[in-house]
Symmetry: C3
Subunit: 349 residues, 3 copies
């Protein structure tokens, strides 16, 4: 499977990495150490000392520097070796690969492609937990499956009608009607109305129309918005898009799917809603995630048993197809520049 390298991947939670803390992560099968210096700044290096390939994540932050705790090589924040204990001369230009890294919207993001092209503007508009206008639930989930199967799950929400029939109890409306799907530069948008009464689990005291849309960004970040309007709004607009600023209420969910290796992935999620009444929704959402996990891991086992078997798309797969085309297009554009530096995904499983 192919993934875009010139993109920001979520590596973890900003609040979990304290000053002088180190974290070992794996993205696109590359071992990476992310560390925060004494002043709070982030750095990300390959997690592999130049000397004997020991993990730097077993090292020690010393102020603004990182020391390998096997034989003591010391690195500055740029990845340069500035001390080899017991040795006066240090080879010129001895440095480790470092990755552009930053924190934004509660997450730590690592740029896996050409450093010169790292562009903060490409970070998707995740609703982070620093926002004061929402209350939040957050978490993460590991899958024994390739990342592609997980974001494809999110791109085609028709599965909610079946896979989540017990947990979310939305009924068959998700599967019976297709959303409108549009392509954007680095994302695919899907959008649709739920007219009052069309979702099984509605609170009948609180009838409303819902305008639901979700944006799936490269490399695999999906942000959904559930916007509430007075009953009749969908019909009044003849099914067209409403003024988002006029929504009575908006709930969002942000999901980042990070490929750890060829066959393992991590989903990070932040669920945000305007008031406390959404907490039971969070419980059923977590149950739905575990249903996704069982299905996707079963799918992966089938794929691995017969690798040549192909999918047979239905009309529900339109967003999936457009997103994968976008991935292929971006990958083909970056391929030449990547080949020199990028270790092959899947070099070891």
């Amino acid at each position: 499977m192919i993934y875009v390298r010139n993109a920001w991947y979520v590596a973890g939670w900003a609040h979990e990495l304290a000053a002088e803390g180190l974290a070992s992560v794996r993205i696109l099968n590359e071992p990476i150490v992310i560390w925060r210096d004494a002043a709070g700044g982030l750095a990300a290096f390959e997690d592999r000392c130049v000397h004997r390939l020991a993990p730097l994540s077993l090292g020690r932050c010393e102020g603004e520097r990182l020391r390998c705790m096997y034989h003591g090589l010391l690195y500055d924040r740029a990845g340069r070796v500035i001390e080899i204990p017991g040795q006066d001369r240090i080879p010129a230009n001895l440095r480790i690969r470092s990755y552009p890294v930053l924190e934004r919207h509660s997450w730590i993001w690592v740029w896996m492609g050409t450093a010169a092209e790292a562009d903060e503007a490409l970070i998707p508009p995740v609703v982070g937990m620093d926002r004061t206008d929402y209350i939040f639930a957050h978490g993460q989930l590991d899958f024994a499956a390739e990342a592609r199967l997980i974001y494809e799950n999110l791109l085609d929400l028709s599965h909610i009608s079946f896979l989540h029939s017990e947990s979310l109890r939305h009924g068959e409306i998700w599967a019976r009607e297709r959303p409108k799907v549009t392509e954007h530069e680095r994302s695919i948008r899907s959008e649709r109305w739920f007219r009052s009464g069309s979702l099984n689990n509605e609170n009948t005291e609180e009838a409303r129309d819902i305008y639901y849309y979700w944006d799936s960004y490269i490399p695999g970040v999906v942000i959904s918005y559930s916007n509430t309007y007075p009953v009749g709004s969908a019909d009044a607009l003849n099914g067209g898009a409403p003024d988002l600023n006029q929504a009575m209420r908006t709930c969002t969910g942000s999901h980042a799917i990070t490929p750890l290796t060829d066959r393992s992935s991590r989903q990070f999620y932040i669920l945000a809603g305007p008031h406390r009444g959404d907490e039971t929704v969070y419980d059923s959402t977590r149950k739905a995630f575990s249903e996704d996990k069982a299905m996707i891991e079963g799918q992966q086992r089938n794929i691995d048993t017969l690798p040549d078997q192909r999918f047979m798309p239905t009309t529900a797969d339109r967003a999936v197809i457009l997103f994968n085309r976008l991935v292929e297009k971006l990958v083909s554009e970056e391929a030449p520049q990547m080949s020199a530096t990028a270790p092959p995904l899947g070099a070891s499983r």
Copy 2:
């Protein structure tokens, strides 16, 4: 290793699959879902939805149909897709591979070869638990080993003298004297007398001669019969075969060895005897099975360490050799017709 495909393989216990129940099994490395419709009928499909390869065994039986619970495709009993939620048009001839399946003698049997050649007459005469003239013990055991090593264990029972010296305590008679071995169309028969006093663990109050024979059927089903006669019968017949209808008492054991993958197998067994006194025998038989498991899994580890190492047959291996020749002959006869449809065993381990 090669296995005959035009054969019935045991997939599980008929009594364990209730109406509208689903079971996920793997045979010859193929994932299969076996399901029972509301009326009690069995069907067996590849366990892989045509849409996105999700496991159908996570699906739901709806009367006489099976629904994939990922995105809701609905299959009839023949494996045809009869509904794609939200989509009017269904591609012509869209269907999943289905396998001939039936229940007989307490077991569910799946035909892994060409459906047109599935022949119920080829099901071996297992003594199932529906028989009222016996009392039964039954069970199953998983091996981290290829099926061949397990049925070879059953084809050459000389190992009882050594491997089961503590559990079965039969003494060395199994190893010291060879059985008569004969070839049949789809089985190998081994047969022999135990004269009174030759088995160490005999109940001295109940002296008798025993005529023991066992049939090893393609693809790996072994049925043994222990027939008791008055002392002196073996000598009176000069070691020849007795009239089986004249046996004072007969105990049987049926063993089905099913290859799950290249390196994992399941043994199903039904032990049948005429009265309750055999229960302690069942305990020692189960202990013997665990001895087989330890030895066979050790054998497998050795084979995998040095794959080119070859066996050095002894005269005790005659039934093993004849059975394996029969497998090769049947496989060579079916090879051309199989190549198009059969996924390769070992496509993934």
Copy 3:
């Protein structure tokens, strides 16, 4: 990775194998059964019966013979098959591979190369627990790593300053000053002084200079000696080697690193000191071993992720480089004679 075959490898502890006992070990990825006959003599065979490759380590010692407990083949101490139950004729020269084996200095040693070249004089001078002039601590530790990474850890003790900064608390002296390194026929010696006060954790009531040296023998046995002298001795000798017979006190540590497979190894160790006061040292040494294990297994994971990545030696790696050159030289000398008999390391992982 390459290992010398014409060498003695440690297989286990002599005191753990009782008369008529069997032990299954794996060295250089070869399964080996070591057994002790009724009279106490040792023998080592490949752990794989000639008949059907069953593990002989599941067999039974019968006086001076070993019986395979699958189908009963009986072997004499030289590895010859001397009985096949139920069969009169035994193929000529039917025998199993046997390995030279002996016990010395508390350990059982197996010669993995050409039997004719097995030379007891090549067993390194380990300080075994039969010595009455020391008190001992001993143990073993398994690593999910190739043996090379473990003995390289012992060849370059500069890591003590960093990796063991919390457990051994020696300070940076190990890393700041290089030992003198010399090549010998089948070993590398490293040696150095610690002047009084240079080790952080010194007992200030007991000031002394320490002359520390360690010999790293083919195939991976490291023996260290810590010799205590009066304060000022190092200076009086101008840093030169002292008279070892004049040491006030000597502590030693013997470490044997045995490659089990390509990616797993076992470290056996015997720590010896002249009096009971060393027991707290043993505790911190065991803690240090667990630090080594975590670092080395991390190093191995990095190597497996990017197999082509190379080490960048520092001046601390001199002993490592010389030892590996010695390995290569010895391997190149033995290669032709080995090729016929030696199963490839890594035939199965």
